[in-house]
Symmetry: C7
Subunit: 98 residues, 7 copies
């Protein structure tokens, strides 16, 4: 998987979503209920962060290569070289798989 040539703005990240089979292999299954169902993916690009009201920069908490769980109700889909990616804001990231 080639890294897409995108630099996300602010606290955004570019994520390569995992296909359903990957989720089983890692032992994490995301249930299909009425509650919010997060998705899994791998971070491939990270923005420079967000700026607080006092002017201080806060870097994004995740880094390239991190496997993350993110809210499916956020982000924008882009297709680069026939691969699908999601551009998320940091608030849409729920957890990192450590």
């Amino acid at each position: 998987m080639a890294k897409p040539k995108l630099t996300p703005l602010g606290d955004r990240v570019v994520v390569k979503p995992e296909p359903g089979e990957e989720m089983t292999r890692s032992g994490i299954v995301l249930p299909d209920t009425a509650k919010e169902k997060p998705q899994e993916g791998t971070v491939v690009a990270v923005g420079f962060g967000r700026i607080l009201d006092n002017g201080q920069k806060v870097p994004v908490e995740v880094k390239v290569g991190d496997k993350i769980i993110y809210s499916k109700y956020g982000g924008s889909e882009v297709k680069i070289d026939n691969e699908e990616y999601i551009i998320l804001q940091e608030r849409d990231i729920l957890a990192v798989k450590a």
Copy 2:
């Protein structure tokens, strides 16, 4: 119950929800009325906290192992190694059972 391999972001926590029998054993019964009905669970992972507008970090008020009561109208369900967990933001936690 193994600790899930997840590090929640910001002020999020990962919670193992208690089954209904546990609630009776602890003497707390959550009524099934029209009012908001909170849930019980055990904290299994805690994010690093939130950042104030002045750049100061505020750690999450709960720690791993805490029994908590949380709003059922928050959080995202994930299933890890066939166990269900909830990822909550701190504001969805109502109280710690001391």
Copy 3:
């Protein structure tokens, strides 16, 4: 009435609601009109307070034992040892009976 074993988070309080007879005895009757109808209760546990944007802690204005009037449109019901309690945020508390 035993104090419930709950520590509310942030500026939340745990309140034991007064039954209707108590309200008459104290001379306060809460009318049943279209306007917002507050409730009466006794504070049984208090959170550590809220944190301002400058990092300063603001303690909750009420203390354990205070008789309060609170908005009925807030809070979550919990039942502990067969007694019903409400977990409120400070903003849902209207007044203390002095």
Copy 4:
């Protein structure tokens, strides 16, 4: 009219609403149109004020005994010793009759 035994929280005030006849006597008549119709009353208790984001306390602009005009779309009704009162937030107070 006895002062009710209530200490309102934050920037709230307890107000004794004026009956309709009082309004005529003071020369102020509140019209019954589609526009917002304010009410008249007398302040009988005042909270300690609100706290700014910098931690500074701002006292309420009105004091006990002030005749005020307040928005009818705010506040909660309570009945104390068979007298009706309204608990308002300061933002619901429009003006003081000087």
Copy 5:
């Protein structure tokens, strides 16, 4: 026109609305279209201002006697000594006629 005996709170002002004939005399006609239609009036009382998050007081930009144009979608009507007035917040004032 006697000044009404009202001191508005915060950044509110008391305004005597101009009747329709006055508008023609001043050369300003407020059209009756679907767009927001402002009204004309004269300021008769001004509150002490608003308080910023840093505790600094900001006085209201208009003064007693100013002819103003204000949004008709704001304010509360009061009738004092059979004259109608509007109590507005400063944000509802669009411009001063200089």
Copy 6:
């Protein structure tokens, strides 16, 4: 075109809208599609600016005489000496034609 005798409050500006023919002359045509369609006009009066939470004044970015493009979903129409004007807030101004 005489300058209207209006001083807008805060970060508001008074704008003389351009008729449709003017837009063609300047080479800018505003399309009539489902997307938001901005309008063109000339600034004829500018307010003193807005005040930040730290008390600092921020002047308006445009000046009298500037040709601007502004959102048609903002502002209030006034008619002065039979000429129509729009009173806008700075956030409704999209760009200045340099």
Copy 7:
């Protein structure tokens, strides 16, 4: 493609949208699904930035000539010399193609 004679206000940018063929050439295809579908374009003008609550200026993260991906649910269309442009706020820009 001539640069349009527009200076956007605040953190706005003027963008020349890419036609559909350009997207294929760069290897990025924006899928037509129910999820939010971003657009591609080239920055042709950049505002001076936004002002934080502490008075500090934050320049826009993109510069003239940058190829960007932006949310299609933002911005205003303008037509200059028969070319269509979009005026966006920085928050509508998702990423820069590096």
